[in-house]
Symmetry: C2
Subunit: 149 residues, 2 copies
């Protein structure tokens, strides 16, 4: 059915971050919607942030547009401009190559739900606050000097 049965899609908190940076996304539970729905033009993730969880380490993509729509709860968007409160219905966009590191954090005692859209690319992802880099061609995480964890 074209209405997606979210409960039928496994939810995971898997992350490729090295353990030193993985604690903040332990409570980030996500479902990848595009594969089961047969979408190929772009990816879609349905994300639940449990209390205290982050959407990811603050980051920006060299080659991938990002769009988020908030669905449930209240969160805070953190980027180079500071902190912006978010509530259900708010829309957020970061164009590729905009070196404005960003993430969404749940500082409340309730779950936050959002949907994020991006078109897959083999581009680098930069993490301004920590010694982490997603290498573009290999799509593996390394330190900023290129050494692996």
């Amino acid at each position: 059915m074209p209405k997606i049965d979210l409960d039928a899609i496994p939810q995971t908190n898997a992350t490729g971050y090295p353990p030193i940076y993985a604690g903040e996304v332990q409570g980030r539970l996500y479902r990848r919607l595009a594969p089961s729905a047969g979408l190929v033009d772009f990816g879609v993730s349905h994300v639940t942030l449990q209390p205290g969880a982050w959407s990811g380490q603050r980051h920006w993509h060299e080659g991938e547009d990002e769009f988020v729509v908030m669905v449930v709860g209240e969160a805070v968007l953190v980027d180079d401009h500071g902190r912006t409160p978010l509530k259900a219905g708010d829309c957020i966009a970061y164009p590729k190559g905009d070196a404005n590191g960003h993430h969404i954090v749940n500082e409340t005692a309730e779950d936050v739900v959002f949907v994020v859209v991006g078109a897959a690319s083999k581009s680098a992802c930069h993490y301004p606050d920590i010694n982490l880099l997603l290498d573009g061609p290999s799509q593996t995480f390394c330190r900023k000097d290129g050494t692996h964890f």
Copy 2:
């Protein structure tokens, strides 16, 4: 600011449908979010359906994946499988080439809001219920026999 100021983006009910098929989308107010946000990988529209309005004539795209997330209100998804109730948080996906004509209709007395994502393509769009075709290469509307209105 990467949180999109929806109020700053003009809302329109413009349609390219010929007048005979345009009545049902008179109460469909939308904002195109990608251009002002600088997104190019895919398009995003923030859509309000006033009471009685349709998201569009029932249709399917030959070459464009579609994804919708419901944000506010209750609506009905109509497709070849029948009628499916929709509420805030529901996600809907139609992969390109799936000849399952679909649209969302607001049969309530309150506004419905959803966000729809699609990657622009010069592909045909088919309308199973009416004598309408969106021609792929020209992206203009015509009758199914190719004649123009």
